[in-house]
Symmetry: C2
Subunit: 656 residues, 2 copies
Amino acid sequence: MKQYQLAVFLFSVVSSCLQAQTPTKKLEPVSFSQVTITDNFWKPKLDKVATTTLQACIYQTEDKTARIRNFEKVARKQNEKHEGIYYDDSDVYKALEAIAYSLKNHPDATLEKKADEWIDKIAAAQQPDGYLNTYYTLTDLSKRWTDMEKHEDYNAGHLMEAAVAYYNTTGKRKLLDVAIKFADHIDTTFRLQNRHWVSGHQEIELALMKLYHTTKNDRYLQLADWFLNQRGHGYGKGVIWDEWKDPKYCQDDVPVKEQKEITGHAVRAMYLYTGAADVAAATKDPGYLKAMNNVWEDVIFRNMYITGGIGSSGKNEGFSKDYDLPNEQAYCETCASVGMVFWNQRMNLLTGDAKFVDVLERSLYNGALDGLSLSGDRFFYGNPLASSGQHSRSEWFGTACCPSNISRLIASLGDYIYGQSDNGLWVNLFVGSNTTLKVGKNSIPVIMETNYPWDGKVKLTLNPAKSVKSAVHLRIPGWVKGVPAPGDLYSFTSNAPAKYEILLNGKPINYKEENGYAVLERSWRKSDVVELNLPMEVKRIAAKQDLTYTIDRIALQRGPLVYCVEGADNNGNAWNIILPENATLTTIKHNVLNEPVIAIQSKAPVITTTLNGAGVQTQQKEVIAIPYYTWANRGKNQMQVWLPTKVKEVKINSGN
Amino acid sequence: MKQYQLAVFLFSVVSSCLQAQTPTKKLEPVSFSQVTITDNFWKPKLDKVATTTLQACIYQTEDKTARIRNFEKVARKQNEKHEGIYYDDSDVYKALEAIAYSLKNHPDATLEKKADEWIDKIAAAQQPDGYLNTYYTLTDLSKRWTDMEKHEDYNAGHLMEAAVAYYNTTGKRKLLDVAIKFADHIDTTFRLQNRHWVSGHQEIELALMKLYHTTKNDRYLQLADWFLNQRGHGYGKGVIWDEWKDPKYCQDDVPVKEQKEITGHAVRAMYLYTGAADVAAATKDPGYLKAMNNVWEDVIFRNMYITGGIGSSGKNEGFSKDYDLPNEQAYCETCASVGMVFWNQRMNLLTGDAKFVDVLERSLYNGALDGLSLSGDRFFYGNPLASSGQHSRSEWFGTACCPSNISRLIASLGDYIYGQSDNGLWVNLFVGSNTTLKVGKNSIPVIMETNYPWDGKVKLTLNPAKSVKSAVHLRIPGWVKGVPAPGDLYSFTSNAPAKYEILLNGKPINYKEENGYAVLERSWRKSDVVELNLPMEVKRIAAKQDLTYTIDRIALQRGPLVYCVEGADNNGNAWNIILPENATLTTIKHNVLNEPVIAIQSKAPVITTTLNGAGVQTQQKEVIAIPYYTWANRGKNQMQVWLPTKVKEVKINSGN
């Protein structure tokens, strides 16, 4: 046996061990409702969501579109017509869910009143048997539950998520009771009669798991698992797919536990695997974890953009083939990045591995956050990595999944910062905030202070009432390390690992590294201060050669933020810039509209025209790169994330 | 009333007069079966189709795919499974139709034997009541005629076209009788019972008209008209379109006679209007002509590429919005250009206006011909006007409409060259050929000799047995004229009208110009020679400013041929060339593989790299442009039709 064969053999033993492991949840989540955000970077965004984005959602829901009127019409029972699309109910629920989260960090009596008013309307539209769907009730109720593609269960799932969130913030049960009644109706109609139903758009699985954790009623766990098990047995044939529409589009080609590849519609996939991870954590079924590990690697190693965005193709709003990641044509739906945050959080809870939070952070700060304008009232549905200037944010969309999705994600940021268990506490994201974590029987109040992502200094103050022996896990972000994991699509061009520093009460402390965390085990006392200093130099990133669209190009990253060049900072152009490998990169304070950012600056060759446009030449000019999430806030503009290091090919005036 | 108001008023009077006109067919078509092609340009292509392209079609139909096996399975009645797609029968019929045309100019006993063999298999698969469709017969015959989207009538139409063509060439009736029996079955099933049926993919209308002209049986005319009249009344709702799929996709939003805009799937639209023009010519119904004039203007003035290609969007294989004509992303399906030839021929027959042949010629020599490789065995489904090098021709396609469509078009070229009527004869295309035209009661043998499109000299010899008074109509191509028609998308940058010359027996002759033709009225005698000399200088073309993708760009045209620059002739690049307005253009003899062509040459600024690729500059270099139809025959390659005249924007290494 040759050496490399041995290595392959050992690797496959290790990986099959990993795959066969029984999932025991390593971390318990910490609810947004227990976390107060004080962060310099995020708090203004949460406030913007509360004061502007949610107002836009309310305006669209109440005035501009018929979304809330459909509920009123159901209650009035006057045979009025349904307006809009069959999945529009979900937008109401998602806006409501976002309001619920927002009320925690930005209490607002008017918003809460609006939510209560909507909840009354929703409750009044529920049928006596628990069914709740304005599309079928206003068109033909006898046709309900006849078309798996019509998002009845998807809408139901968003109702449940909103209900749980609103209950968690306010303690009010009205919407929760509506959701429970509807969930019971669904359980009775399908699982208890073993009537097959393959969700055309997954969502209900993860929602049922929230309902399960909130009510502790086991039937919702069983129903979530039942929905997962419906897939891959051909029940969706001729209904949600047929010989001309690939079953992979909705991940219905093989049973979930046998899935190995990421396929199809990106948001459907993310919601599916989020629900599957939730079920795996509760049932300890190793099948789901094995499948998800394989699928996750397929996403990360072959199908994810540097922004954490996924789903490159607009045709199916999803995945095309491995390594097919065009930049200008990138679809990268905002909702898919939001889904990446959901799924990777669950994977982290399940495994205790920080690599999932590395991905979560990448999607959150880049692919997802880009979905919302700095002004808070404009949205991207797709998030391309290059633009000839054709892209601009919209006020709203016919299919309006993205605005409320990015709203609820930002408003629920508190869900993603910490983890806790009997053995210790986890810091996953670096966000200024206060919370109290439960470690075994002890409560540990925690204060995090930081100017992240602009600065790498994170200060954590622990305030247990009495001394507590416990392990503090600080995530050391993957971007700190110089060496890519095997299979990684992207790597820093410098292999020197950057150094980070951890101090306890101002002095160096011993710690071990485990699963991407620095683990500090000791007896913690009131006012203990842990300081983490992350190195924030600018990194050049190269992609694997398999990615044809990024050959001889680099991207820039600093901390978790991916950068781009935009015309607005560069004399109107962004496609004429060359950034040779030896160009010096410095950072400067900069403003994108009212957003203060750290920008990256370089003197680099820029192509300019000569002779009335009949020729060109290269000039050394100052080039500014800004955080990707801030682009497209200053009008239509050229933009690029991946910058050429040398010229192989030149295109003139190509709006193709 | 101000002057411009008067003008508008007069214009609308004129146009409503035009629209209200009763269509009386101005020209009778001349069948391919009456025309022998001898042309330097086309004859080798017809031979290539016979010797290579049809062999590829046969190989795919018999060996590589199950297309012919499905017919065998039906005849065997052993419950075997259908293979492939429900519209695959049509590929067999279209290949058969192409063989039929080909046998005329390239007799081939083996090919004819193959056709007879296929016809036997097709006939054996016909059901006793006339129904013939392998998909439904092999899956579930009870489900036939339940889904308007499943192309049963589309397949039937292609059967009829093949049957008529094969009968015209060979005089053999077997397939014609099969087609008649099937047509009768359809007529009985639908029209005679007034059972609504909106064709999901139009084709049967034009095919029925061919059957009508061949059999003279009025019921096929009535059935064609009935099919046209089914559209636009909502019968297709929930079947071929629904609230999520626009009825405009299949031109079912308003009745055909009320249609004003070109919409939806390009091939469906072309086949529809071809059938409508055929019916209008037979029934003299002014409604269709009015609609088609409006729709035609919408195509030509706002939605046609310079290549005569249409349908810019791959999403619906069709039209998007007015003026949305991207070059690299152009879909421009080969079949849609073939459809443009069909429709414009019918419009010319109906109106006697040469402007339709101008469009026909543009589509034929550029958008359509580009669909077939010079080798004859590779195909383009889409025909973009720019390429970063990602495009290459394929051996075949899953949906294989294009290969047999371009085959049958080229093989049936004889259909498009001449027209005839009681009053005279028409020369529409300049193609070396012999035929005998019927002018009133007289027969006039005609010989055309030319080296068109490379040379503008066309020699026509008339050989009536005795002196015949008649009008010879010579089309003076639109591209000869310097002034664009109002509304034209494209115009020559020089407004000086080029001069053409007409000689009779070597001496200048008087003629009048009418509807785009030079009309020579006299008594014609044996051996009269008419010589037409068309000016063949290179033309620069500019597009209307509404076309955003072509701003500050020009295209090159010589004769009917649109040109492009391809990397293969220009050091591997085509996107780095600037062609300033004052650049001198000359022509040279050139070869693209084995195809001798006239190329266009210029010394022009070309962008080249400096300093190991870290900078660029412009150098004067020799640039070669080749006829568009010859590109993509020398490997993957950059290509552009529209060349920048100045530099406004530069993109580096942009495979986007």
